[in-house]
């Protein structure tokens, strides 16, 4: 139990640092940034404390908002992802996901991919919608969501492969 908290804490700090130091400065094609920090929410233990998830994802978002000068957009979209995570689990892995031990950081199966895809799309769409906050930029929001989603998923999968526990 203690080691799980430590692992999550380490993930929280490392992903936040990586996001601020590296990924926020990518600006691919001028405006596309990946947001792999949401791996923290994706990789949070399935049977872990849900209050802890909600509070920690709020904290994660609000700290990132301070760095990005963006008010509360990251916090709001992180919360949305944390809250709807069980539903996405149910959708991707079937109803009995809680009884199986779902391991996300493992070989990529269609279920795992669909889970990551839906999580990232949900997070990014709410993020860009709140960040732009003007409906006359709707096409730009959708375009940005699609491009950033592709970028984020690629980087998420790379990170999952890198930090995958070696012995299984």
């Amino acid at each position: 139990m203690n080691s799980a908290i430590l692992v999550n804490l380490a993930r929280f700090i490392l992903l936040l640092a990586a996001q601020v130091l590296i990924f926020n400065n990518m600006n691919f094609l001028g405006y596309i940034n990946p947001y792999p920090y949401l791996l923290f929410i994706i990789l949070y233990p399935v049977n872990g404390n849900k209050y802890g998830l909600l509070l920690s994802s709020f904290l994660l978002g609000i700290i990132l908002d301070m760095f990005c000068n963006s008010g509360g957009v990251h916090a709001a979209s992180c919360l949305a992802l944390a809250y709807y995570r069980p539903y996405i689990f149910k959708f991707s892995f079937g109803l009995s996901y809680e009884y199986q031990t779902v391991r996300l950081n493992d070989i990529l199966t269609p279920e795992r991919f669909s889970f990551i895809l839906f999580s990232v799309v949900l997070h990014h769409f709410s993020l860009f919608l709140l960040e732009v906050f003007r409906l006359n930029f709707l096409w730009e929001i959708i375009l940005k969501t699609i491009l950033s989603t592709v970028f984020t998923i690629i980087i998420c999968i790379i990170i999952i492969y890198i930090i995958k526990p070696s012995k299984r």
Partner: protein, 273 residues
């Protein structure tokens, strides 16, 4: 009473979610209004400190370009001095009353964003150096933005690449005024709107800051006209302006501390009463 407690216990997860979501949405909405909340900005101790550290490392990578820019600016200033009629009668700096109408604070951009629609910069001087909200920020090439929030050692700047920013500007040749805005599309171009049809505009004309603004002194460079449109609704010109500045790479900046701005603002306030 019992039922209320039961309700809270039963729905505590959902209530916590709604409470946090409400907080973040309020912060979001505040961030989109002009007067933003002070708490969630990168001008605080933690984020400013982190950005300063990062910048002190990345600074080394572009020392060379920074040096070149400084040398160019030096050369330009020297040429102004040498071309003045009498080099001995240069205006002396009065150390008690300051240089002139505007004082200048030198600062450095430690964080720059240009990928969103509302972009902010973070600079490494704050209230301790005399930086206050609504001061103008420029560099050797042209204008950069307006100071937004300040803390003791850091400040955030509303970049001209922010759809909320609106700055008074004019065509240098003909003195016709307009508002400088950004449409959120390209980092190299901003738009000058509401230019009257009477104005003679030509591609390549220089756009400078206008005299109506109390934030910027007159005649600070902005860019050159790149495209000319006529707004169908209002029948005014909309000019696409190519910026002198490369907003994606900024180093040292100057903050303009206009001495008259307080006085003008007070006067205007009195007028409105």
């Amino acid at each position: 009473m019992q039922q209320i407690f039961n309700f809270i216990f039963k729905n505590s997860y959902r209530l916590l979610f709604l409470l946090l979501l409400g907080t973040s949405l309020i912060l979001t909405i505040q961030s989109h209004s002009y007067h933003r909340s002070k708490i969630i900005s990168s001008a605080n101790f933690l984020t400013g400190g982190v950005y300063e550290r990062i910048n002190s490392i990345s600074e080394y990578l572009n020392l060379k370009t920074q040096n070149e820019e400084l040398a160019l600016e030096n050369a330009r200033l020297k040429s102004i001095i040498f071309n003045s009629k009498d080099t001995t009668s240069l205006p002396k700096i009065d150390t008690i009353r300051g240089v002139s109408k505007a004082n200048i604070i030198v600062s450095k951009v430690i964080h720059n964003s240009y990928s969103s629609y509302e972009n902010y910069l973070t600079i490494n001087s704050g209230e301790a150096a005399g930086v206050k909200s609504d001061m103008g920020v420029i560099n050797s090439a042209g204008i950069i933005g307006i100071v937004d929030k300040t803390s003791k050692n850091y400040a955030t700047v509303i970049s001209i690449l922010n759809v909320k920013s609106q700055i008074n500007a004019k065509i240098k040749k003909s003195n016709h005024f307009g508002s400088l805005v950004w449409n959120g599309k390209s980092t190299g171009f901003v738009q000058l709107i509401d230019v009257p049809r009477l104005a003679s505009v030509r591609k390549g004309d220089t756009i400078v800051t206008g005299g109506q603004s109390v934030i910027f002194p007159e005649n600070i460079g902005i860019g050159t006209i790149n495209n000319i449109f006529i707004d169908n609704k209002t029948n005014y010109y909309t000019l696409n302006i190519k910026l002198f500045n490369d907003m994606t790479s900024l180093g040292h900046v100057y903050i303009i501390k206009s001495k008259d701005s307080e006085e003008i603002k007070n006067l205007e306030k009195k007028e409105n009463e």
